[in-house]
């Protein structure tokens, strides 16, 4: 059954590891480790992009792999680590659900997204189409990470991980988006990160913590 070429095998391994990392991020409560996992996810994405670029010979994918490496593996984790040190948030508080329950929901989500991706995979013509399901699962798992966390920091990391999943999905469905879109998205993520960094300080100044449930009540306290 395993008569795929070695680059496809490596791509499948990357996809499987991305799924594993999504679960690791779901269960991890130390924010420093979460950043480390995010960087690892970026690195895997970079390897996967390089493999697809090598396979298809599309030169813009090399640029996008370089962009992933610079932005998602080096710059953003560095920025996040700096923010963690300056804001002094190393641990997330107890999440909304216990770890076991979250994992079970996660497994359910993976099954759901596999079902969801099956018709799309059937229509796609790329060799990497079987990874679409994994990409959808990574997106939804990152979404779940954002839902179950309280601290603003881990929600932002979940957001970045969701972007990674989207990127991977685009790559497996259509061998990547056009260059101009990719550049736009990369810039958006960068700016969003910088703005959110400022937001963190504002939130903390206002509420003395980064816990987002303070934002749920709209009335001003008198």
């Amino acid at each position: 059954m395993n008569n795929l070429t070695w680059d496809l095998q490596l791509l499948n391994a990357c996809a499987a590891l991305l799924l594993l990392l999504a679960f690791a991020m779901l269960s991890q409560r130390r924010i420093v480790t979460l950043v480390y996992l995010l960087a690892l996810q970026g690195a895997l994405l970079c390897v996967a992009t390089l493999l697809v670029a090598w396979r298809t010979g599309e030169s813009h994918l090399y640029v996008s792999a370089g962009l992933t490496l610079a932005l998602k593996v080096l710059f953003l984790p560095w920025l996040l680590n700096r923010l963690i040190r300056r804001l002094d948030v190393y641990w997330d508080t107890e999440s909304m659900l216990n770890t076991g329950g979250t994992m079970l929901i996660g497994v359910g989500i993976v099954i759901f997204s596999f079902g969801l991706a099956q018709p799309i995979s059937a229509l796609a013509s790329t060799a990497t189409r079987s990874s679409i399901g994994i990409a959808v699962a990574v997106i939804l798992l990152a979404f779940l990470t954002m839902i179950t966390r309280r601290k603003a920091m881990s929600q932002v990391i979940g957001f970045l991980s969701m972007e990674n999943g989207l990127f991977f999905g685009a790559m497996s469905a259509t061998y990547g988006m056009p260059m101009i879109v990719e550049l736009g998205v990369a810039l958006d993520v960068l700016v969003a990160m910088l703005v959110l960094g400022v937001f963190f300080f504002q939130i903390r100044e206002q509420f003395d913590s980064l816990d987002l449930h303070h934002l749920e009540s709209l009335k001003e306290q008198k």
Binding site: M1, L4, W6, Q9, N12, A16, L19, G100, S130, G133
Partner: protein, 316 residues
């Protein structure tokens, strides 16, 4: 059924029963080296068993026949399991008689008898150990079954020999699903054999012990059999791991003596590598609190489930 097949089967059982203490001795030696201690002799487990066999057995007044019977049952099931697991050849009389699910049942029988014997005397420690063992067991078993099911899904057979045969016939490649299940299997192995993240095999009197707590009332030949069975269990688990994930070098059915001559040293090499790896894992990890053990095993189960999901989606 040729004479070589019968010879292989006999050799398999003999190697397991006689070699298991040597495997434990090797692990202890590796662990001592890694921890900068002077290592005990690799033959130490044999000396221990011999010493225990020479002693007179002491039984508690309230011991029922079950308590005396348990060591023989546990040792017998482990020896039978050793015959079922294809550690040297694939199409042998015993290995085709029972599939992997029956094997899991066999291991569960041993566990039930051990727990019953531990509760038989009615001491606090025995009951405590039995309860903990059952807790670990009921969490580890689904994970183990899931691991076996993933391998069965790939090779479309639940027979361990069939799985090995299928895997050896395939070209070498990257199988993410098998990699995940291998991690899950290693975690189950550690939990089931009372190794370090879950239980400490080097301790005799500690409130957190699981395996040792069940054996506290045993002495002499009964204790020797129990210890021997524990070594055999570890050996069996290692061989299940080889059959599932690294079956190269097994003599296929009807093969000549040359294949057998190759299978024996390969098994020894695999065991040596596995023992060193196990010692390494035990040295770098700390023992978990008992209440964290379910989390450890839930992770193992998750790995196995992920392996299955990846297999279903990617087809690898």
């Amino acid at each position: 059924m040729t004479a070589v097949d019968l010879l292989t089967q006999g050799l398999e059982i003999a190697a397991a029963v006689l070699g298991a203490p040597l495997f434990v001795g090797w692990i202890n030696q590796c662990r001592a080296w890694l921890q900068n201690k002077s290592a005990p002799s690799i033959l130490q487990p044999y000396r221990m068993i011999r010493k225990l066999f020479l002693k007179d057995a002491v039984l508690a007044h309230d011991a029922s026949p079950l308590f005396r019977m348990a060591p023989y049952v546990v040792f017998g099931t482990m020896a039978l399991a050793a015959a079922v697991i294809p550690s040297m050849g694939m199409r042998l009389p015993f290995t085709v008689a029972a599939d992997a699910i029956a094997l899991v049942g066999l291991l569960a029988t041993a566990r039930v008898f051990m727990a019953l014997a531990a509760m038989d005397i009615g001491t606090a420690f025995g009951t405590l150990g039995a309860r903990r063992e059952m807790m670990i067991g009921f969490l580890a078993e689904p994970a183990l079954l899931m691991v076996i099911l993933v391998a069965s899904l790939i090779s479309t057979t639940t027979s361990l020999a069939g799985i090995s045969e299928f895997t050896t016939s395939q070209a070498l490649g990257i199988y993410p699903s098998l990699a995940f299940t291998a991690v899950a299997f290693t975690m189950v192995l550690l939990a089931e054999n009372a190794r370090i993240p879950v239980d400490n095999p080097a301790t005799h009197l500690e409130l957190t012990m699981i395996h040792e707590a069940m054996l506290l009332e045993y002495s002499a030949r009964h204790l020797a059999l129990m210890e021997w069975a524990a070594a055999l269990k570890l050996f069996n688990y290692a061989c299940i791991g080889f059959a599932l994930f690294a079956p190269w070098g097994l003599a296929s059915g009807g093969a000549g003596p040359a294949a057998l001559a190759l299978a024996v040293p390969l098994l020894a090499a695999k065991l040596a590598a596995a023992g060193a790896g196990l010692a390494l894992i035990e040295t770098v990890s700390a023992k978990l609190r008992v209440f964290r053990a379910p989390e450890f095993l839930a992770t193992a189960f998750l790995f196995a489930v992920l392996g299955m999901l990846v297999r279903l989606l990617l087809g690898t």
